[in-house]
């Protein structure tokens, strides 16, 4: 067989036990299911709507369900507290083993921190950024809450096996993170749906140099270009990481050399400029020079795309011994408690607070937004996931997306500037 990653994954998981090809509609067995906030809908509300009198009668496997109440931790309202209380009750009743309701953080990062998913598995989650698990060779797949209801009951779900697109990244990995620039650059070149319903396979000489943090960013943003899966090859870096976290065996997937791709895209990052997504779409991208001089009110580093150690470390490196611009609100939200603790132990938090930045509780708040709203005519530059109109508050505010280095440099300057200006000093 000459199969892509996606064809191998879905052949392995096909309930009929037969090999499948792109385009086939199948029912697949799933290996794990991640639920985050609003888990009450698939866990309870939909069961009643569907006809079960007392809620869900069972779950298919209490060991393989992961409930992490990320967006609403800590709760910001009584309504959220009530929802979380209902979820807690249902989780206990159904015997679900993996439950995190007292630990703030982004579910996707915690899934990685706890090694709740492993290479070669098909893991679904009722959040679009579940696709990020592809960073460690997992078939991470965002589904909807109603899909999740079905998956919880049966451990199965329908899928159409996707066509695949190969993205070959070459060049040298610099000493600062560039994953955000890469995906923004690609979205600018090829459109914000260039991988619509497809499976992205990252390869090339750069891909193997990228940290797991950078791979998580690129895989998470698969959804911003429409993808169903966005995977990296399994390698020693991933093996070493998992060896330190879990004894559960796994079987990575590698595409066959003669697999069929719908498209192939190559990018040499040595020739790539720093870029920025202008308001109000992910694909509205230009070299950062074209936005140079735009005054900024708020800067942010965080989210499942860029709230990891390397994203925060580069900010600390830019700001070490310096002060952010007067009046600048610089919000930094580590992706999980584990990331936060590492930043703290290595002195990054101290550096950032001394510079005038605010380090806030891990979670999804600054991206979604639950906290850090912006007012009319204000400008925000952020390394979070999306810049849709009104996403940070006012419809008349402008949100720019950029990598963490560009964001930190804007926080320092008070305006958008090309971070090549500071490369010799960090």
């Amino acid at each position: 067989m000459n199969q892509t990653f996606a064809e191998k994954l879905f052949s392995r998981k096909n309930l009929q036990g037969e090999p499948v090809s792109a385009g086939d509609v199948i029912e697949a067995k799933i290996d794990g299911a991640m639920l985050h906030y609003h888990a009450n809908e698939p866990l309870y509300d939909m069961a009643l709507q569907a006809g079960f009198k007392n809620g869900m009668p069972r779950v298919w496997d209490p060991e393989k369900i992961f409930v992490l109440l990320d967006h609403h931790q800590p709760t910001l309202s009584l309504k959220q507290a009530d929802e979380n209380a209902l979820i807690r009750k249902e989780v206990e009743r159904l015997g679900i083993k993996n439950f995190h309701d007292s630990e703030p953080g982004i579910a996707h990062q915690m899934m990685l921190d706890y090694a709740y998913m492993r290479p070669g598995e098909l893991v679904v989650g009722n959040d679009s950024h579940t696709i990020s698990y592809g960073a460690i060779n997992v078939g991470g797949n965002g589904i909807t809450r109603a899909d999740m209801f079905y998956a919880l009951l049966y451990g199965e779900l329908w899928f159409q096996v996707p066509e695949s697109i190969k993205i070959i990244l070459n060049g040298k990995n610099p000493n600062y993170p560039i994953a955000k620039d890469i995906i923004l650059y690609l979205a600018g070149q090829y459109g914000d749906d260039f991988a619509n319903s497809m499976s992205i396979e990252y390869s090339g000489t750069l891909s193997s140099q990228l940290s797991i943090d950078s791979r998580m960013c690129l895989s998470a943003h698969g959804v911003e270009v429409g993808a169903k899966l966005a995977t990296f090859e399994f390698d020693n870096q991933v093996k070493d990481y998992l060896d330190s976290k879990t004894n559960i065996p796994y079987e990575p997937i590698s595409a066959d050399p003669n697999a069929t791709y719908k498209n192939e895209i190559s990018l040499n990052v040595d020739e790539m400029p720093f870029v920025i997504a202008n308001p109000h779409q992910f694909g509205n991208v230009s070299p950062i020079d074209e936005a140079s001089g735009i005054k900024v009110n708020q800067a942010q580093i965080g989210s499942c795309a860029n709230g990891r150690y390397e994203d925060i470390e580069i900010a600390a490196r830019v700001l070490k011994g310096r002060k952010i611009a007067k009046g600048m609100r610089f919000l930094i939200s580590p992706a999980s408690q584990s990331v936060y603790l590492k930043c703290l132990k290595n002195g990054l938090v101290e550096t950032l607070i001394e510079s005038g930045a605010q380090v806030i509780t891990p979670g999804c708040g600054i991206c979604q937004p639950k906290i850090g709203f912006i007012s009319d005519k204000e400008v925000c530059i952020t390394s979070t996931t999306r810049n849709f109109k009104g996403r940070k508050g006012s419809f008349n505010a402008d949100i720019y997306l950029a990598g963490p280095l560009s964001v930190a440099y804007a926080a320092l300057c008070g305006e958008i500037r090309n971070p090549t200006e500071i490369l010799n000093d960090i």
């Binding site: 709507q49 569907a50 209801f149 009951l153 049966y154 694909g283 849709f388 109109k389």
Partner: protein
């Protein structure tokens, strides 16, 4: 809510562009309840939409409709949208529409077929959409049989319940 795919739908068209995100469909950051969202859906693109949309209207949009988060289009059904016809759709919005039996149809070329305010007829059984004024038509894509069954029974949770009853006869849960 069950939906008979084979029943034709005719309605006034509301036209939108490319990459309309689920945040615009569900502006829940500002309006967390369904009742509030009904008054503000799509206002990021067309502030008059929520006020003027009528039951039976059809929403037409460009490529990548429903991009962004995994939120569904239930609010569009609540304000009366009888069908969504698009150039292309984000996969999660499509999954949501199937799982909640919200009629959505893929008709590449739709933006050129019909203008805002014109009347469109969707004939899934005949595999086409028609601009009632010009009588021009376009092919729409058929869903696989399994997906048609999910529409028929009213969505995926309902499909799951029916399977459970079949596999556990006499169960009283």
């Amino acid at each position: 809510m069950t939906f008979n795919l084979n029943q034709s739908i005719e309605g006034r068209v509301w036209k939108f562009g490319n990459s309309i995100e689920t945040d615009a469909i569900n502006p829940y950051y500002h309006y967390p309840t369904m009742e509030e969202m009904k008054l503000h859906t799509m206002e990021a693109y067309r502030p008059e939409f929520a006020k003027e949309v009528k039951f039976g209207d059809i929403l037409v949009a460009g490529t990548n409709f429903g991009c962004g988060s995994s939120r569904p289009g239930l609010v569009l059904r609540e304000v009366g949208i009888a069908a969504i016809v698009v150039e292309s759709v984000s996969r999660l919005f499509l999954r949501n529409s199937i799982a909640r039996a919200i009629p959505i149809f893929l008709a590449p070329g739709i933006l050129d077929l019909v203008e805002d305010g014109e009347t469109l007829r969707v004939d899934y059984a005949g595999s086409h959409v028609v601009n009632v004024k010009t009588n021009k038509q376009l092919k729409i894509r058929k869903f696989p049989p399994m997906i048609e069954k999910i529409f028929e029974i009213g969505g995926l949770p309902e499909f799951a319940y029916a399977r459970f009853q079949k596999e556990n006869p006499g169960s009283n849960v």
